[in-house]
Symmetry: D2
Subunit: 239 residues, 4 copies
Amino acid sequence: MTLVDVLDKGYVRLVNHMGSDLTVVNAARVSYAKESTEWSEKDLRLIRFLAREGHTSPFRHVMLQFEIYAPLMVARQWWKYVVGSSHMEGTGDSLEAWNESSRRYITEEPIFYIPNPGEWREKPENSKQGSGQAIEAESGKDYTKKLMDYVEAGVQKYEEALADGICAEQARLFLPAYGMYVRWYWTASLQSVSHFLSQRLEHDAQKEIQLYANAVLQLSMPLFPNALAELKVHTNEDE
Amino acid sequence: MTLVDVLDKGYVRLVNHMGSDLTVVNAARVSYAKESTEWSEKDLRLIRFLAREGHTSPFRHVMLQFEIYAPLMVARQWWKYVVGSSHMEGTGDSLEAWNESSRRYITEEPIFYIPNPGEWREKPENSKQGSGQAIEAESGKDYTKKLMDYVEAGVQKYEEALADGICAEQARLFLPAYGMYVRWYWTASLQSVSHFLSQRLEHDAQKEIQLYANAVLQLSMPLFPNALAELKVHTNEDE
Amino acid sequence: MTLVDVLDKGYVRLVNHMGSDLTVVNAARVSYAKESTEWSEKDLRLIRFLAREGHTSPFRHVMLQFEIYAPLMVARQWWKYVVGSSHMEGTGDSLEAWNESSRRYITEEPIFYIPNPGEWREKPENSKQGSGQAIEAESGKDYTKKLMDYVEAGVQKYEEALADGICAEQARLFLPAYGMYVRWYWTASLQSVSHFLSQRLEHDAQKEIQLYANAVLQLSMPLFPNALAELKVHTNEDE
Amino acid sequence: MTLVDVLDKGYVRLVNHMGSDLTVVNAARVSYAKESTEWSEKDLRLIRFLAREGHTSPFRHVMLQFEIYAPLMVARQWWKYVVGSSHMEGTGDSLEAWNESSRRYITEEPIFYIPNPGEWREKPENSKQGSGQAIEAESGKDYTKKLMDYVEAGVQKYEEALADGICAEQARLFLPAYGMYVRWYWTASLQSVSHFLSQRLEHDAQKEIQLYANAVLQLSMPLFPNALAELKVHTNEDE
């Protein structure tokens, strides 16, 4: 499996990877000039020790490259993890690369994420951020329709502006951009990926980014089963 | 001067800084355990040599902290510089910190950038990105009005959704987010700042971010006149 | 106090700093556009929350610059922290700059760390790294003398080689370099500094680097008392 | 070919790599959702454009992992490139990982680089760093012998100290460490590798590290012929 669908039109695709669980233990043993070629009980004990004690540098020699297609609001939370953000986190780790599409010069038709009627959520009861239960079905139907109409009106104005000769970088002011799909490549070490997962699989992360984090996990787990297990990266039980 | 107004409601504020032109030359001379305390001709020759030869690490010991209030489309181009982006740039330099406001949990009234009638620009003649001359006055007036109406409609729907109990992280799908103001702190070394300026003062950068880059330059130049002069950071002649 | 002596001839000097405890809480509150100018109980609660939950990015807007004079073996363990190393650590945080003297082109007299007779330590009983109790006084005296003689012989050969016209970059092969003093500037965010301290104040860190870490702590604590207290950075009880 | 011998006992080994020339152009085209699977004239024009204009971020999705065995003085210059150093360079790029052996806890026999009689070089005529012609054969023979004796004496004292129960982290003060071989893994993006090469293949880099840089180039060139050619990475003509 190299592609997992997410939301109505998004996906995560594993483009490439380098290394395996063995890469981690071999990096940790560089002092001894001994290289394992087959996974053993000894390797398991070492990777468990490294993960438990926070000796994360050996996990930085394993790399993954993903292509992601997601609403801009997800992209923004993702890179906030990369750059380091206020109420989120910020390892400052930058063993990552990022190349993203831009609305400054593309004039293809923009594509938007529109929640299905059953996907609209209430605000949480005891928190300033996050979300709670699904709202009532009837109300959900109204909001899906309302958003479709509003997005359609925005796209129409955007296209009128382009047709009138206005530059794309200003015309885009008409787009309800939070839900607009963008596409990017993300190349990151296993240390970065597992840190991202440990943050974004959490209950208080936005539901939409949790779904993307789950897709990243599904694609990564078969490749590095021991490393990810010992780093305690796992989905929330209720998903 | 510590604050420069930009666009209709934005600004750049210099919050703090560390070091001076002398910090750069003293870092370059750490081998010799000699520290200049007053700027001299010899220091000028050294900083000129460092800048010309690309020996940029001594510029990394000088730090600046800014508070920026800008439309999200400007924020996104700014951080693309930080993370490294496709057709733009990418030093990968990460001697920077970034803390930004989020629409996931704030429920204050959102504020938007609306270009004045005279500020709408044509698409460029010979390029896929950027912009050209101002559009006709009459048409500009129409588009300013059209954008105000569309933004107002979006904000109204956003507030209805919040009033109906929908979580803020989904309600924001109704906001034409590219023009929405966000506020952030940016702490960066002089090396990072000058690299940012060299990219964002360019003609082919979006006009709006050029204006912010100019504000950063105005606030920085009096503090590090020699370093910035030798790094050849300067505004475009026609601005 | 801006300078703390370490070992026989080394020191840590605080060159400059930017920000205070308030910088941290103000960065965390950028969303609210509220800035504290005086430290309050509310700020303490916020910084405690940030430290406890690992929201470290606000700590990245505070910067410190140190000048350090230390044996090369200490410098190497220090930068291993910066770059990320095998059995040690590896945040990959790179909000740091580093400028160091080099023996490739300096031909000043090299200076060496020679442990006093009472400073030589036994190997630890139950560990492959670290050290135990002091060795016997008489034996310590012998080793101090032996090291002085060996270093002196090396320096003499180094100087003969230079006098014979051999290039400095090869002549230095005669120097017992682990104990040779080097000087560098280290500019790092409070997040980086506290991470460095949490690693290097540990019992299993080499004694010599623990002493340098203590000096860094002594110089930093008066400037950021709340931040460092909440980040649980403190010396080992038995020192 | 995956291993190149360097100096008397050192080597560079290509452990792994991820991507190809195509990875670079595909990352640059992520906006267009078009992926090349076969190299074409169009790809060549794009990679030439990216290299010429300094749009280096697409080169960050290609990764290489090397194992290196080199004298400590080479290791130190190598990591100075990584961390950023005074009279050298400093992109601050940190899309790299590094895991290195340590003399703090290994008690295997230390191995040293001893220049052959014909490898000792004069100091340069018009420069403070670097080196010039080979010294006279007879004198070279003397210095090789002198260094062998001095190293042997140091190793003997080191082993006596260990035998007397002194901890390894202090006993190593007897080792003429600049020439001591260390082993490490270096994982870096193609952008980092090409920047390293552009610095270390230069005439004014130390001869010994030029030889290692050449080995890295030999191992990388067959994998990314177009990217490296356009980035203008090449050996000095006279080598």
